[in-house]
């Protein structure tokens, strides 16, 4: 644990695998930029890896004032212990006030290990971060400029704002896809600080015997239009309506967890709390009741069209266009209407 350090920097863990930067550090830096501007401190990216120096420049273009670069052959492949050890040492050396991680597979493995070693707090899966003040009830003491770590909890039914009063750094993992990345600025200048790393074989306790990654079948995060189907489609055959409408709109097909669980479509297409978070220009929800867990992943869409036979479906609470009716007649009408307007992808 480090003490409250109001001059401390704001850090973003720059997750990379095989020399390819993940999306999350870029998303996080645009949010972190707002935090540092409020706090009047520097934004630093922390880049661990082997031969990854060229990513440092990219991080500067995306908003970092400084990049701490820790390179070592033992950091070539992510492992909990080696990465946690280097992060722990850097945190205690530089005493940042805030450290942010993407809530990715690696981020959710790494951050709690660091938090435990540092004896600091950690809030998982934040969907928003703000700077604010907190008055403790007991002594009426005002704690200024704390990191508000905002996250859904209780299956998405409540939104909790978590703070760390005195045991710093203030740390959080942030859900993928919820922060909007900034445009890179190739003219931005920043400092690259090379850090000496000492690691031995003992810091790599796992033998990674084999690994297989497959590309995602669909890039929902990048889609401008999404057509999503729910359990209301009734069958995998009928789910074809979603594909047809998506084709017509040049949209990405997506689904609720229920539809994925029913085998209508692959998990890569899942939107919601346990799937992808999206914010397209248009989200067409077909046969989706709109459980809170689904809404968590799509409520930020600019326009929402909902088709459902149940007028009380919660999806209608957030839809801009409500169509109460049988999706089996409405969706073909939509396809027909689009074709008449000359829209066919």
């Amino acid at each position: 644990m480090i003490d409250v350090n109001r001059d401390g920097e704001v850090w973003v863990f720059a997750e990379q695998h095989g020399g390819r930067l993940e999306d999350t550090p870029i998303e996080l830096m645009s949010k972190a930029r707002h935090l540092t501007d409020t706090l009047g401190v520097k934004l630093a990216a922390v880049l661990l890896g082997d031969n990854v120096k060229e990513l440092a420049t990219k991080l500067i273009h995306y908003g970092a004032d400084k990049v701490y670069l820790a390179e070592h052959p033992h950091l070539g492949t992510y492992q909990t212990n080696s990465y946690a050890k280097v992060m722990y040492d850097l945190i205690h050396k530089h005493k940042p006030q805030i450290v942010l991680y993407g809530a990715t597979i690696a981020g959710r493995d790494l951050a709690p290990r660091i938090a435990s070693a540092t004896k600091a707090g950690l809030t998982a899966d934040c969907t928003d971060l703000q700077i604010g003040d907190h008055e403790t009830a007991k002594d009426k003491k005002l704690h200024k400029n704390l990191l508000f770590q905002i996250r859904p909890a209780f299956g998405g039914n409540i939104i909790a704002t978590i703070i760390n009063l005195d045991r710093w750094p203030q740390m959080a993992t942030v859900r993928e896809g919820v922060m909007i990345p900034a445009e890179p600025d190739a003219k931005r200048k920043g400092k690259i600080v090379e850090e000496k790393v000492q690691l031995t074989e003992q810091d790599l306790p796992l033998q990674i015997l084999a690994e297989q990654k497959r590309p995602k079948k669909v890039d929902l995060k990048a889609a401008r239009i999404i057509v999503a189907g729910g359990a209301g489609l009734g069958s995998k055959d009928n789910f074809k309506l979603v594909w047809d409408l998506a084709n017509c709109l040049g949209a990405a097909p997506a689904a609720t967890r229920a539809a994925v669980d029913l085998g209508f479509i692959d998990h890569d297409h899942q939107v919601g709390q346990t799937g992808t978070t999206v914010r397209p220009s248009l989200y067409v929800a077909v046969g989706i009741s709109g459980q809170i867990q689904h809404q968590a992943g799509m409520s930020q869409s600019q326009k929402i069209v909902a088709v459902n036979s149940d007028p009380n479906a919660p999806i209608f609470n957030i839809a801009h266009y409500k169509i109460v009716g049988d999706l089996n007649t409405i969706v073909p009408m939509m396809i027909k209407g689009l074709k008449e307007k000359g829209i066919k992808d």
């Binding site: 707090g121 809030t123 703070i163």
Partner: protein
Amino acid sequence: MSYNCVVLVKQVPDTKRITGDVMNDDGTVKRSALPAIFNPEDLNALELALQIKECYGGHITVITMGLPAASAILRDSLYRGADDAVLVTDPRCAASDTLATSYILSCAVRKLDYDIVLCGRQAIDGDTAQVGPQTAEKLDVKQITYVEELEQLDDKEITVRRNIGNGWQQVRAELPVLLTVTGGANEPRVAAAKKMMKYKKAMTPFEIEQKIKTENPDANQADIKELIEHKSKEIEQAGLLIKQWNLDYLDADLSWCGQSGSPSKVHRIQSVVLAAKESKEVEPNQKGVADMIHELIEDKTIA
């Protein structure tokens, strides 16, 4: 070679099955009205431990930290095949965040011989997935998260397959190790009728005391004490005692437990109320749909 497994489990409100009955009129959830269940992925962790025991032999201890009522999931674990159950309960555990919880659980695990510690990837009330890795750090053992398959256990080494989202990773590590197990790892077995018959009478010391006091409302304190001692001995001899440990028994440093051990504080809790937006009813006919499409093209939503 046989292996000692310790499984960390949690009793959670069933946040996934929220129906109209548990909603307040303002659209928020009545949390107290939700049924308490065995955290789903902890059942997958227990199942994996049971499979290890079946294949290689060994002993399974299940630990939970919680209120006295959390003994329900310990009995459930015994029904499914666990050998031993421990309830860590103490009012001073209240308000523990994940850091304090992992500290307390690590103190409890240290009281036992273990080769493999297992827990679910995450609990459905918080979804943090933090307690596993934090407990591993406190125990100073390796962690392997998102385990979906046990591939091999030989002598001092374990090989598992991890689910890394868009693929898998096969890793090997020397024991001891802590595994966090995903919901896709296995199909948890149901309670065995025979074990259920036996263990439905399993009780914690707290429950024994409650039972004696309810059954003997008029007895004096000395008698109550004697009755409790007698009953406890009887339960223990039958192999039905669920161990109950408090923070003193764990030799826990109180400054790392409960409120004082928790760096995370709640600033504010807001209920999610599904917000109404500016919205239009579209007539469910061809004209209504066509008008909507026209608008979406006009405002350049559809290119």
